[in-house]
Symmetry: none
Subunit: 682 residues, 2 copies
C-alpha cells in the first residue's frame, strides 16, 4: 500500500506551517493551513491576484530546504501577471504553482485576503421592543402527593396562569435540562420563550439581561451586532472578511465554484458558518469586563458568573446567545444554508426559497445556544436578497409618502424605488469596480490605497492621498507615499477628475490630443494609460496607472447603476425622486457631488442624498429586537415587485447612454457651477 507523499510548507509572514499532500496547488495548501490568499477569479488563472513568492534556501527554524524547483512547472497563464524579473525573484501564481517538495512561501500584502479593516457600525435607528425571544421569571410550588405533576407541566401551568402563554412547546434539548435547573433554582426559574410558542431555555433564579446577535453576511464582509435583547443596547459590533472570498470575489464566481467542485457548496457553507461562529466568540469575548490587572484565577470565574446576573457587560459564552437574525444577498443566503444556488445563476433565476426561515442553530452548525433558532430573513428574488429586505425594514419606505430611491451597492447593486403606494426593486450588475476589484491597480480600502485624487486641469499633474498617511502627495516626499493601489473612493475620484481635467472624453475614451508626461501607451499591450503615482512613490516598484480598460469597467458599473435607476423610474412613471438613500460601505465613502458629476444615479437635491450606512445590518437588528419586523419583512419581500432590468425595453440603449460621462441629458441642473460649462457642453 502506497503511503501518501507529503511535503512541508511554511507561509510567511503568518508563520503558518504544516504538511500537505504533494501535488496540491499553493492556494489549496493555503486553505488547508488557514492562510488566506486573494483569489478573485476562483482559481481560473485569470485574475493574477494570488501572486506569491517562493523563498529559496535552507530555513533552519523549520528544517526546510525550499526551492523554486519545488513549486512545479511554470504555466503559460502566469506570463500575463508575472514578468521576467519577478519570475526570477521567485514569484508564482498560487493557483498555478504546486507543492512538489518542501517550500517556504511568502504572501505579499496585496495578495493577502482578509486584510481589510472592516467596520460596520450600528446606526441609531428607532426600534420598538418586541423581541422574538422573551424571558419570564416564575416561582413554582414544589410537587406534593396532592400535586405530583411533572416539572414541565408545572412550568407550563404557571406560564399560562401568569403570562397567558398557552400551548407552548419545548425544545427537546431544553427539556433535558429542566429537572436539574428547577431544583438548582429551588423552583424559582427564568424561562426563555420563543415567539410565544416554544420554551428554549430554562435558567435557575432570576435573569433580566439576555443576548442576541444580528448578522449581515455580505459577499465581501460579514458584520455582527451583539445586542442585549432586554435593553436593546448594542454591546459590540464585530466584523470580518467573508472567508468565502478565497473561492471567488463575487457572487457568480462562488456559484461557479459550487458548480465546478462537488464539495464546493459544503466547503463554502462550512467556511461562512465557521466565520459566524468566530464572530460569536469574538463578540462574547469582547464583553468580558477589563481584568484590571487581576490574575486569572478561580475567583475570576465566580466574579464573572455574578456579573452575568446584574452587570450590563457580563461575561458571556456562546450559549448565552439565545437568538440570531441573518441577512444576506440571495446567493450568500443560499450558500450559507447549503441550498443549491446554481439555478439562481440561470434565467429566470429562481431562488430555492423566498420566505424567512427559522432554523435551529444546531441544525445549521451555528454555535450559539443549542436550542436557539436562527432567523434568516426572506429573499425578494434571485438577485434581491434578504440583505435588501433588511434595508427595507430599517428604512420603511413602504410607510412613507415621499418617493425614495434606495441604492445598496456592495459587490452587487440592488435598487428599490417607491413609497407607501408601491415598491419595485431590481438588481444591476455593477460588478465590483466600485470596490476596486478587476482594475489593474484596484485594491480594497486598506493601508496603501489611494483614496483621494485631484488632477490639475491645466498641467494634468496628480495630487493624491493614501490610507494610512494623512498628508497629500504635494506635501510629501515621493518615497513617503508608499502607495499600493487605488480603492473604491479613489476610483470614483479618478473618473470624475479625469473627465473634469479633460484627460478622458465624455465617451470615456482617453483624449488622444492631450500632451503630458502621465498619459502614455503601455509598452507591452500598446493600450493608453494614465499614471496616478510613479513607481518611486509606491511599495510595489511600478507606476500605478488607470488603463482604458479600467475606465471602461468603471463606466460599466456606473452605467449599470444609472440605467437601473432610470428604468425603474420609467416603470414607476416618475421623472424625479424625492430622496436618494445610499446603503453600504460605498454610501459611507461616496462623495455625493462627485457621484452626481459621474452620473451614478438620477439627479436629486444634494441634501436629499443621504447615506444610511449598513442598513441591511440595521434591519437584521430590528428583526432581532422586534418580531413584528419579521412579519413586515415577509410582507415586504412578497410585496416588492421585482423588475428584471435586462428584459426591459430599451435596456441596451439606456445602458449605452448611461455609460457616458457625465450623464447629462439636462437632468442635472444641480451640476451647474460645479462642473465647468465648457465641459458640460463638450
Amino acid at each position: 500500500m502506497d503511503k501518501v507523499e507529503k511535503s512541508k510548507i511554511i507561509f510567511q509572514p503568518s508563520g503558518r506551517r504544516g504538511e500537505v499532500k504533494k501535488g496540491v496547488t499553493i492556494i489549496e495548501a493555503s486553505r488547508q493551513l488557514g492562510v488566506d490568499i486573494e483569489s478573485l477569479c476562483g482559481e481560473k488563472k485569470v485574475c493574477g491576484k494570488c501572486k506569491i513568492r517562493i523563498e529559496e534556501g535552507f530555513f533552519e527554524k523549520y528544517g526546510v530546504q525550499s526551492s523554486k524547483d519545488h513549486a512545479g512547472k511554470w504555466l503559460i497563464e502566469e506570463e500575463k501577471f508575472i514578468n521576467r524579473g519577478q519570475r526570477e525573484a521567485g514569484y508564482r501564481l498560487g493557483c498555478c504553482a504546486r507543492v512538489e517538495g518542501d517550500l517556504l512561501v511568502f504572501v505579499p500584502e496585496e495578495s493577502r485576503a482578509g486584510k481589510q479593516v472592516v467596520s460596520k457600525a450600528a446606526r441609531d435607528i428607532h426600534i420598538e421592543w418586541n423581541p422574538a425571544v422573551k424571558y419570564y421569571y416564575i416561582e413554582l410550588s414544589e410537587p406534593t402527593f396532592k400535586d405530583p405533576k411533572g416539572d414541565l407541566e408545572r412550568i407550563l401551568d404557571h406560564l399560562n396562569t401568569k403570562y397567558s402563554l398557552s400551548d407552548l412547546d419545548i425544545d427537546y434539548l431544553t427539556l433535558k435540562t429542566i429537572p436539574n435547573r428547577v431544583r438548582e433554582g429551588k423552583w424559582k426559574i427564568t424561562v426563555a420563550v420563543w415567539m410565544d410558542r416554544e420554551i428554549i431555555r430554562v435558567l435557575p433564579g432570576k435573569r433580566e439581561n439576555y443576548y442576541g446577535l444580528a448578522v449581515d453576511v455580505g459577499t465581501t464582509t460579514v458584520a455582527a451586532y451583539l445586542c442585549n435583547i432586554a435593553t436593546m443596547e448594542v454591546l459590540d459590533t464585530v466584523s470580518m472578511m467573508n472567508p468565502q472570498c478565497k473561492y471567488g470575489e463575487d457572487v457568480m464566481s462562488r456559484i461557479t465554484y459550487h458548480m465546478m467542485h462537488e464539495d464546493g457548496l459544503a466547503k463554502m457553507s462550512g467556511d461562512i458558518i465557521e466565520g459566524i461562529n468566530s464572530l460569536v466568540t469574538q463578540a462574547c469575548e469582547a464583553t468580558h469586563p477589563p481584568k484590571k490587572g487581576k490574575k486569572n484565577n478561580g475567583s475570576d470565574k465566580e466574579e464573572d458568573e455574578k456579573m452575568v446576573q446584574d452587570k450590563p457587560y457580563p461575561c458571556l459564552t456562546p450559549s448565552d446567545i439565545i437568538d440570531m437574525t441573518i441577512v444576506g444577498n440571495t446567493a450568500m443566503h443560499h450558500i450559507l444554508l447549503k441550498l443549491n444556488p446554481e439555478h439562481m445563476g440561470v434565467a429566470p433565476f429562481p431562488p430555492v426559497v423566498h420566505k424567512s426561515m427559522d432554523i435551529k442553530s444546531r441544525d445549521l452548525g451555528i454555535q450559539i445556544n443549542e436550542s436557539a433558532y436562527v432567523h434568516i430573513l426572506p429573499n425578494e428574488a434571485g438577485f434581491v436578497g434578504a440583505d435588501n429586505v433588511g434595508v427595507l425594514i430599517a428604512e420603511e419606505p413602504y410607510k412613507k409618502d415621499e418617493m425614495q430611491l434606495i441604492i445598496d451597492i456592495g459587490t452587487n447593486g440592488e435598487l428599490v424605488l417607491g413609497n407607501k403606494e408601491k415598491l419595485i426593486s431590481s438588481s444591476c450588475a455593477t460588478g465590483p469596480a466600485f470596490e476596486g476589484a478587476q482594475l489593474a491597480f484596484g485594491m480594497r480600502a486598506a493601508p496603501g490605497a489611494i483614496e483621494r485624487i485631484k488632477i490639475d486641469p491645466e498641467t494634468h499633474d496628480v495630487d493624491y492621498k493614501v490610507i494610512g498617511r494623512n498628508a497629500w502627495r504635494s506635501y510629501s516626499e515621493a518615497k513617503e507615499m508608499e502607495a499600493k493601489g487605488i480603492c473604491g473612493s479613489g476610483i470614483l475620484d479618478v473618473l470624475g477628475e479625469l473627465y473634469r481635467s479633460g484627460v478622458i472624453l465624455k465617451s470615456g475614451r482617453f483624449n488622444s490630443k492631450q500632451k503630458n508626461s502621465r498619459f502614455r501607451k503601455n509598452s507591452e499591450n500598446n493600450q493608453p494609460e494614465f499614471v496616478i503615482a510613479w513607481a518611486n512613490e509606491t511599495t510595489i516598484g511600478k507606476d500605478i496607472v488607470i488603463t482604458q480598460k479600467d475606465v471602461r469597467q468603471i463606466q460599466l458599473a456606473k452605467g449599470a447603476l444609472y440605467c437601473g435607476c432610470k428604468l425603474m423610474m420609467r416603470r414607476m412613471g416618475i421623472d424625479k425622486v424625492e430622496k436618494v438613500k445610499i446603503a453600504g460601505a460605498f454610501g459611507t465613502h461616496v462623495d455625493r457631488e462627485k457621484a452626481l458629476i459621474m452620473g451614478l444615479f438620477p439627479d436629486c437635491e444634494i441634501d436629499n442624498i443621504i447615506s444610511i450606512g449598513n442598513a441591511a445590518g440595521d434591519g437584521a437588528r430590528a428583526a432581532l429586537l422586534n418580531r413584528e419586523k419579521r412579519e413586515e419583512a415577509n410582507w415586504v419581500s412578497r410585496n416588492v415587485e421585482y423588475i428584471e432590468l435586462t428584459v426591459e425595453k430599451d435596456f441596451q440603449q439606456e445602458f449605452m447612454e448611461a455609460m457616458q460621462i457625465p450623464h447629462m441629458k439636462d437632468t442635472f441642473p444641480h451640476l451647474k457651477g460645479i462642473v465647468p460649462d465648457e465641459i458640460l457642453n463638450q
Copy 2:
C-alpha cells in the same frame, strides 16, 4: 432462461398473501410473506409447533382454488404430531408441507410465533385513517420570467390552492433537497406534510405508499410494527430484548444505575436508541422482496426502486420511514429521552414531563428519515406511563358505559379502572415474578421452560410440560424432558397447584406436615423447597425447585396486583367490574381460571376476562395512523386520575390480605366447583 413457476398462497387469519416459488415449504413461504409461524426445532421436523391447516375450496376474494393436494406429499414425521382426524381436516406441519399449487393456509393460534415473549404481534383493531404524515402529489409549472418565484413558494402555493394547506413550514434538511428533487421529477413531485404544518419530505414523481413504525419500549421487550401508512397494513412486526436489561431487570434498578453512574443515563439511552435503530433496519430488511435467484446486479436496484412505488412489499431503507410513534412506561420514556429519572424514584414521584413530545429523529439519534418527527406518547404519572396511555387509546374505556378494569402486567403492573364517566389509574409493584425473574429457577418463555404443571393432590407427584416438547412428563422418559427452568405460565400454575394439592397453606407457607419425597429442606440454607423436576429430567444437572422465597415473591406480586385492583374499586365506589382486560404477554399466557383461583384480580365472569395482547403497541400504531389518537392520548393522560396506592388508607392491611391464597373473602363465587370445597374452606 427458465421462468420460475409460482403459486399463490394466502395466510389466514393475517390475510397476508403473495406469490412464492413452487416447491418451497410453507414455513419458507410464511417467512417470505412476513407471517410468523412457530418453529422451535428450526425446521428439523421434530417439534410439531408449526402445525397449520390447509383450507379447501375456491376463494373468490383471492381467486384461489386451494386443495390439500397442493401441499405436497405427506411425510412420516408428521404422523407423530397430527392424528388421523386432524390429517383429514387438513392439518400439516409447515416444515413438511410444500407449496405445489395455490393454497389458503390457516395458522392456528398455537402455531403463531407471536405468542412468544419477545414477539408481540399486532392485533386487528379498528383505526380510522388520518395519519400525522400525509403524502400529496403535485404537478408544478416551471419558473419563467413572468413567474420566477422560488422552488419552495411554488410548492407552497400549489399545496395551498389544491389542498388548502396554508402557512406550512419546511424542515431545513428537506429544504436543502428541494432544488434537485423538483428538477429530477420534472416539476412533478410528492410532498410529505406532517400535521398539516411542516413539509418533511419531497420526492420526485408520484409516490403512494409510505411507511411508519410504531414502537413499544417495554422494560424487558421492545416491539415495533412496520406499517404502510397509506394502506394501514402492518408489514412486519419485529422485536427484541430491551438492551438495557444488562443494567437491571426492572425500572427501579435502572433508575438506580443512573444515580450510581455519571454516564448511566447516556449509556442506557444510547443502548435503547441503538436497539430501536436495529429494529428499524430489521423491519426494512424484512420488507425486501425475495431475490428470486437473481444475481445482485445493477438492474436489481432499479427493480427495487420501482417496487417502492407500486408494490405492497417494497424495498425500504430507514430513510423511507417517515413517521414513528413510541410508547413506554414513564421510566423507559425518560431514559430514552435522556430525562433525569431520579426524581421519579422519590415521593411524590414527579416525572419531568407528561405531555406528548414531537422530537426530530435526528435530535434523538433515531435513524429513520432525518426530517421525520418521533412522536412520544404522553405519560399519565410517574408510574403510569405512555404505554398505559397506548393501552387506553387502543381500548377506549372512556367511550364505554361498562365498568372496565384494564390490567397491564409487564415488568411493572399498571391498572386503569373506569368508563366514560371517570377513569382512575394506579401502578402496583408486582415485580417481575410473573415473568419468571427473581425466582430460583425462573426463566423466560423459551425452549426448556416448564410452562404447565399439575400436582396430584393425593401423591403430590408432579406432571409437567416443557416448551419445545409436546408430551407431558408422564408420557415421556426422564431424559427426554430437557427442562431448564420455569416460565411465567408455569409459575402461575405452580402456586395454584401447590395450594390445591395442599403443599402450601393459604398463608403461602409450606405445609410442614406433608410427607412426600419432593418436599424437603435445602441442604445449604435449610429453607423448605419443593421439587418440580428431578435433576435427570433437566439439562442443568440439578433439581428444579420452588423455594419458600419463590412462593413469597409470587405472593407479593399477586398481592400487589389484587390489592391495587381492590383499592381502586373502593375509590371508584364499586364492588364489581363488568370486564377485566389483560394486556401484555402475561395476558396472552394467563390461564384465566387459574388467575381467579390465585386471586390475581377481582372476581369477574370468566367470559368477561379477555386478553388484549400488546394493547400498548396497538395504541402506538393507532397514534401512527390516526393523529386524532394523539390528541385523545393527551386528553386521556390528563383526565385519568392517578391514585398513589401506597398512601391509601388500609394499604398495608389490604396488601397483607391480598397475599393470601386464594383471596376469597366471598368475592369469588365463580370458583365454586373449580376449587375443592375443603380447600376453599381451609
